[in-house]
Symmetry: C5
Subunit: 342 residues, 5 copies
């Protein structure tokens, strides 16, 4: 608030850790893994002969991040967005580089949804990655580079850029699958025994779907922009692959839309089951009260103490009253049976 634009301030919750840098250099034949000790060793990989993937993990050391940005000639606005973990997904094209912000979504060991901010900078022969945690979303890409599987080793930095975005989007499917499971679980619970807790869970789920949608839905349009760009850093060949990512993003957006409708249906289901339960409760009350209140009335009649009540003197009066009561009881049962309440 009130800070000058371009001020580099970390807004996330993973404070205090020193940034760790890993560099993978590769081409068709070579593969090197560097752990640079100082800034100069990092900057040496700017405009390298091999394709260079510079991975900066840990964003809370703002001074270090700022220095990296300056040495690579990046705009201060870019560096601001890099450490601003609240930044929504974006793609910005600059003359010498393309800057992208994305959200990694994945499940931790306790199956809790984790959101991680990641910034990618595609430069000539080099991709600069800023991320918060040393996690496994990009592990598949690292593995493919190391083992030379697929075509990644024989292609340029823009293919690496694509491969990273592809890995991020691929993980969205896992999260969607998880949401789907939760929806189906809740569906069963709501059908079996809807309580206040279920209503609460439905609302929680709704909010989670909204949250996922917020981070995930802009991706489709960003990738479209990458496909349509005329920036020289993105080759026509890579655009073919980006079309695939675009496809996936479309599907993800559609799926989230369906999940939203399903959570709404869940709430409807819940309300209708509540109504059902109420109906059942009311029926029990009505049947019990409707049968026994008239019978009690009859008993009350003959509990009166009038001096002259001829029936009381009848020898079979008591049994006749019983007969009337049983008849009433059976009549009521038939009535309720006919109404379908039994």
């Amino acid at each position: 608030m009130g800070k000058a634009p371009g001020t580099i301030t970390y807004l996330g919750q993973r404070e205090g850790a020193k940034s760790v840098v890993n560099i993978l250099d590769y081409n068709e034949t070579t593969f090197e893994h560097h752990k640079p000790g100082n800034l100069d060793q990092i900057v040496a990989h700017r405009e390298p002969p091999l394709v260079s993937w510079i991975d900066v993990v840990g964003l809370s050391d703002e001074t270090f991040i700022e220095k990296v940005g300056k040495r690579f000639g990046l705009n201060p606005l870019v560096m601001e967005d890099t450490v601003n973990t609240q930044q929504r997904p974006k793609i910005d094209e600059y003359e010498h580089y393309i800057f992208g912000v994305f959200k990694m979504l994945y499940l931790d060991e306790d199956n809790q949804l984790v959101t991680e901010h990641v910034a990618l900078v595609l430069m000539k022969n080099c991709v600069l990655v800023f991320q918060e945690l040393e996690d496994d979303v990009f592990n598949g890409v690292r593995e493919r580079i190391r083992t030379k599987s697929g075509r990644i080793r024989s292609r340029g930095a823009d293919y690496l850029f694509f491969a990273l975005i592809d890995a991020i989007v691929d993980h969205y499917f896992v999260v969607l699958e998880h949401l789907n499971e939760q929806i189906e679980l809740l569906e069963d619970e709501v059908y079996e025994n809807p309580t206040k807790q279920e209503a609460n869970k439905i609302q929680e789920l709704k909010k989670q779907v909204l949250k996922v949608r917020r981070w995930v839905s802009p991706v489709k349009e960003l990738v479209s922009r990458l496909i349509e760009t005329e920036h020289p850093l993105i080759t026509k060949d890579t655009k073919l692959f980006l079309r695939d990512v675009q496809d996936h993003s479309t599907e993800i957006n559609e799926t989230i839309q369906i999940y939203r409708e399903m959570t709404m249906s869940l709430m409807e289901m819940y309300m209708s089951n509540m109504s059902n339960k109420m109906n059942e409760v009311m029926k029990v009350l009505t049947i019990m009260a409707s049968i026994f209140i008239p019978l009690t009335f009859i008993a009350g009649i003959y509990g009166m103490n009038f001096k002259y009540m001829p029936e009381l003197e009848w020898h079979y009066g008591y049994y006749m009253v019983w007969a009337v009561m049983v008849a009433l009881f059976v009549g009521m049962l038939i009535f309720f049976k006919k109404k379908g309440w039994l």
Copy 2:
């Protein structure tokens, strides 16, 4: 997850079956049916003199599918989508071919909705079809080729390509008809006797409509793209026919939209009928209780054991109490009659 893009992995549930290939070659005068024994015999039909329909049934044999793709010069991304049964409908244009993914929807013998993934490749003089099951959606087309009915035998591969899409879209109408019947059935059930099961069926139906919409709704736009394309493989003449398919797709989308609104109305109907039932139950309870509770009170009065209760000594006390009670009873009935509760 984490696999390189272009990796060919079958994701469906029809595992283990060997792929079976059928080839129909035809022109205005000739018609041949081949069952090729090996790959070379298949590839012989690439760029054939006659129009060739190569139908590959069974997608779980990834190595075979990959080989076919390579021999026909198809992009690995194409082959990935071919066996990815989760792939949403798409049309991708390449220099020498047009690739399309669609979903066949039809009802099996038990009237259950079946979704089948199908991939179509239009090449020069040849249409390559990859499908999961040897089913009857394309039977009509086969029959027309065999019996030379319609104009299919006198036209090129792009007309065949259209005819196959047309057959897929035509089957959507059957599925819609089936959904319509289910909606009308449920409407009657909900009107007659809404129970928890009906609410559940409505939600199931809603989900089915969502599912059908997901597979069916992209088709309209894909066909539009085929109509607007300048790809040389699609002739102007065939575009006229595609306009017809586009028309049908529009109608299908509108119909699904109407079904969605109808399922929503169903739920509303259900809720309003639940309310009605509750009202009826409450009325019975209220009438019974309102009539007999005051009467029981009167009986209670004269059941008291006070020494000095003059009424008890009256000779016609008992009959007077009865008179009062009957008057009250009748008064209550009139009151409820007036309220319209009887």
Copy 3:
């Protein structure tokens, strides 16, 4: 299903009737009415000197329709749509003619909504009309031609084409008026006495509005296309009139939209009135039970048979109990009065 595209199959429910043909030829000075006996006499009116309105009534005789189409040089797809009564409204431009499908909506003698499929072909100096029933939607146009009222006699075939569409669209207003009346009727019913039947009627009305919207809403866009077309058969002068039809279509679509919202409000109204009724029922029950249950309890106390109950011996005990009861009764009434339940 499975038929070749372009197959001419009648799908309506007005089977068996032979097609009847009426031809009106006219210009500023001449007016002739022909009832051609055979196909050749009909075809004679193709590219006529006068403006010719050829009206074919009855679509179930597919062979006859097909022959007419062939003789007038129409595309088989056009003829398929002509007899396909399920076809949604459309405008297709061909080199020598413009083909349109519309739905006539009108009320029969029993005030039931009737949908009739109509196909129009505008050719040079001639409009070919295919319709199912010999009805009165076009009667106004016929009358104006016969009596030379308005400007129709002094204009070309495209003006006739416009006049027919205008007549169809004009009738939509009658149907909308009818729907409006039904909505207002239901509004009163729902306000006065909402029962299960009313809920059902609301849902029926909703479905009717959806159905009307389906047939009527595409017209606006079709007319827009006619206005923007550069097809030589539509003169600039006639486009001015079509702008008027477009205006009406816009209004119709807006009105239907409003009706949809009104039917939704009706359902809401119904639900809120159900709630009200329930509240009223519950209040009666609560008042009766709350007043008499405590009084009965007091009576019960003094109905106990304990040997030592001093009150029973008091001379005015009975009257004191009555006093307490009356006090309680009045207190309860005041309590409920204060709550606003009486």
Copy 4:
């Protein structure tokens, strides 16, 4: 229905009045007010040296209106829309004039919403106005011309045209303010004491908002069209002012949208308050019944006439029963207190 397009038929409900014509002629220095006695005197003001505002009040005299139209060279379609009070707002450009239909909305003395149809024709140096009633929406403009306030006297007919539209749109704000007051009034009523009448009023309000939206919402787009037109009658200078009207229209549309959502919220509020009231009723019933039914049962026990009931003989039996009853009563109160129902 069935009339030829261009037939001039008055559709409003202000029948029978003779049309009254007022003419204001003005420029920077001159101001004249004419009350022409016959048609020729009116037509004399066509293409006048001064700016001329010809105001025709009363539309039911169709012959007179038609004559005016003819003498000013207006298209019959224009004249049809002029007297068609059902016509939705529109702007049509013709070669020599621009024709606009708008709806004046204002409140009469009883605060009832009045809709008045008005047609404006902008011609060279002259604005022709057709309106139903001699009302005060344009009074402000008249006043400004007479008193030479603002810049209206120094500008042309297109500025007058703008000023009239501006006056119409300005009055929409008054109507919106009125709707706002009604919504807030109903909000209080629904909060205080929701009855069936309130539900009805909400639905009435909803319909009124729909109605206002219908007449008001097209204005924005019409004004946009005036701004973008290249018609020579509208000067660039006036477009600057029209931009202001466009601004107001945007705001009006947004406000109506907000009102729609507020009326929906009102209904929700109503339903939730109904639920609350029901809950309160149920609680009273449950508390009364739950306390006194068990007590009555105990009294009933000792009202039994068994020969051998030891308690009845106990000297303090009666008092012990009272003790038990009081304990039960207090226990129940505590239970309900804990549940928060008291």
Copy 5:
């Protein structure tokens, strides 16, 4: 109402205060703060050598504002919008200046939402600001100019223009955060104990979200227009920064959309909890009534005074009745336990 367009009328509620003017002049090396005593001293800063920020606080002195506008050569329409506090956000480009209206939203000391109207005029080397209150939204910008922090001192008037808009938009986030807190608070309240007050608060919140959306949502499009403009006053460099503001506006709009859905969910949650409470109340009533009404009936039976009731004579009759009652009681408990109502 009825006033000529361009009439300068203050519509806000901060009447009577004299306008106070502050002027900041600065460039890279110089910084001056002026408090001009009269109009001439203000106008001296028009087209100044340094960048000049002229801040006019207090809009109710219409004559003064009008004079300022005239001296700076601003269009009367601009001045009208400047003092019209009802004016929605807008950007209007004129030949020599760009005019913008925005709404500042912030929280006062009592955490109440305050809306303040602000008008910005970007001229050559000078930004003219008209605002209602001397508040702190722009304090950060003032501070940065004074302390020469960030790049503001080294840039032109368009950067200042951007910085002011940026400060306004930045404050929207504070308001959103506040709304978020309120939503979460209400969520807890609704979950714990939903009463009529909670329903009311939800509706209030809904209206507040609507209000914020109304003022905030147009900003995105306005900033986009600034980015796309070719007006010479906005440099390409500043557009880069405006892109950032656009980003923030997009996020704000998305967040408000999410808040709207969350308030709707709140209402749903409320209704479902009301249903739950009702269910609980009904269960207590049903259980109490169903257990004790039959027992009371049995007691009533043996309270009858028939002469011949054999059971009454039995020695253990009383105890047998007790046994039957206890059995019934336990049976009922088991029944309700099984139903899950206990």
